[in-house]
């Protein structure tokens, strides 16, 4: 059996565990989907008049516009929760068992991220369904939906990588959990919830360069207006950038952990 095949099996096994863990505890899963849904309803109902603002992009409804933001929130929370799960594994000593097995380190992180990806997938499907139920159209139809789903799932994994890096570095679930407000901050400083042109400084300036803005716009495009190659490309690049960041941080954290024990 080649090394590669073994590694694939390991990732699959850890991935299945991670996915099972995620969906077996609905009370932990719920906040990742319920809170953003609540916020979606509230923000749509409260700030929906925004569509009448001069300069607001043409949309079918504010709900249609906001779906991407809700998905962004969920994927960020999913990434955070993946980090927490890994930190719990570390606290429990489960990762020690994995570290002392003859498997490459990256399989451990990758396996964990499978759970995060599953959550991202679930969240994207959930919000697309919510959108359709409440009358929002998906402009680019099935293709558009698939693109949105793919981007959200990939972004969830990417953010999960950062969460995993923090977990590996700190080994503490409560620290990772405490970073949750940061998740909100980063999202508010992006165009997840509002068109960048209409945001207020200095948030506007920060959002212009925030990689999450590119992801959000990549997810939103197919839903609201159509599939745009540039937008899509920028979103993918942004995700890649986050992935790279996560990998670099994770690798360093792993080295640190093995040194420190």
């Amino acid at each position: 059996m080649s090394d590669f095949a073994t590694n694939v099996r390991v990732v699959r096994a850890l991935g299945m565990r991670s996915i099972r863990q995620t969906f077996r505890r609905p009370q932990l899963m719920a906040p990742i989907v319920v809170f953003p849904t609540l916020l979606l309803a509230i923000q749509t109902g409260g700030a929906g008049g925004a569509v009448n603002l001069p300069g607001f992009p043409p949309v079918q409804s504010f709900l249609q516009f906001m779906l991407a933001g809700a998905m962004m929130q969920s994927l960020m929370l999913a990434g955070n929760s993946g980090g927490i799960a890994l930190a719990v594994d570390i606290e429990m000593g489960f990762t020690d068992r994995l570290f002392s097995a003859p498997i490459p380190r990256y399989t451990i992180v990758l396996g964990r991220l499978a759970g995060t990806a599953a959550l991202g997938l679930f969240a994207s499907l959930w919000f697309l369904a919510i959108g359709l139920i409440f009358g929002a159209e998906i402009h680019s139809g099935v293709a558009g939906a698939l693109i949105a789903i793919a981007l959200v799932t990939a972004a969830a994994m990417a953010v999960g990588g950062i969460g995993a890096a923090i977990a590996l570095r700190t080994g503490s679930a409560s620290v990772v959990q405490g970073l949750f407000p940061l998740v909100l901050v980063v999202l508010f400083l992006s165009s997840a919830f509002f068109p960048n042109e209409l945001m207020i400084q200095p948030a506007k300036a920060i959002a212009e360069y925030n990689p999450l803005s590119f992801v959000a716009e990549g997810v939103r495009g197919p839903i609201v207006s159509g599939i745009d190659a540039t937008e899509l490309g920028e979103a993918v690049l942004a995700i890649v950038a986050i992935v790279v960041l996560g990998l670099v941080l994770s690798a360093r954290a792993l080295r640190h952990r093995l040194k420190v024990g």
């Binding site: 609540l38 509230i42 109902g45 409260g46 008049g49 603002l53 909100l184 945001m199 207020i200």
Partner: protein
Amino acid sequence: MESVATLPQWRANLATIAALMARAKNELLRVPGAAIPGVLAPTIFFLGLNGVFGALTQLNGFTTGSYESFIVPVSMLQGAGFTGAAAGVNLARDIEGGWTDRLLVSPAPRWVLLAGTVLSASARALIPATSVFLIALLLGAGWPGIAGLLVTYFMVAAMASVAACWGSALALRFKSQSAAPLMQAGMMGLILTTTAYAPLALLQPWMRSVAEVNPVTQVMDAARQGFIGGVSWAETWPGIVALAALLAILGAWALREMRRTAV
């Protein structure tokens, strides 16, 4: 052999409430960093809301040109909701750990035990409220005047009591900290399905209907007065009535749950 040296009941009650409030402050003063989440969350929300939705003031019919001024009371009340719900989480933790048994086995009346939790939350809510208020002033929100500020702080303290009753009722009902998300989400829903993001006329139709029946809308409008204009009794008393009604209903529920927990 029963003790002869006991205080008259009303003095004993006051002393008990004071002692329970003194204990509650340990949470903030003796646990490093404990105050941070309670202050951070509403402050972040304030900054975020402002940066994201600030352009809404350009809409026809918006009651002020300054979104900071408009949403200051939202974040202050959110801080109150968060603090009150957190009091419920602490109570759930105390129940799980057995501490609450000590209180229930004493002859202190049940409402006195509840009052200790609720009043502590009221007092604690002033901390995030002040943090949000100061940051808002820095960002250019209008000075509400002394009367406006007093009204707002009063609404904040009372809202925290309402949230604490809600959190306590859930804690006593489920006896578990896993009810925490429900405590937080409930208050968030209550406070934001009001004139939080925009004036009544500019809300979407379904949200407008909800806001019209939601008592916290009165609280929100009362708390907002000084920031967007002048303070009047006509705008203030509906908020007081709304808070009194919420306190009566949720307080009664919490008390009932406390009585059902023990004999």
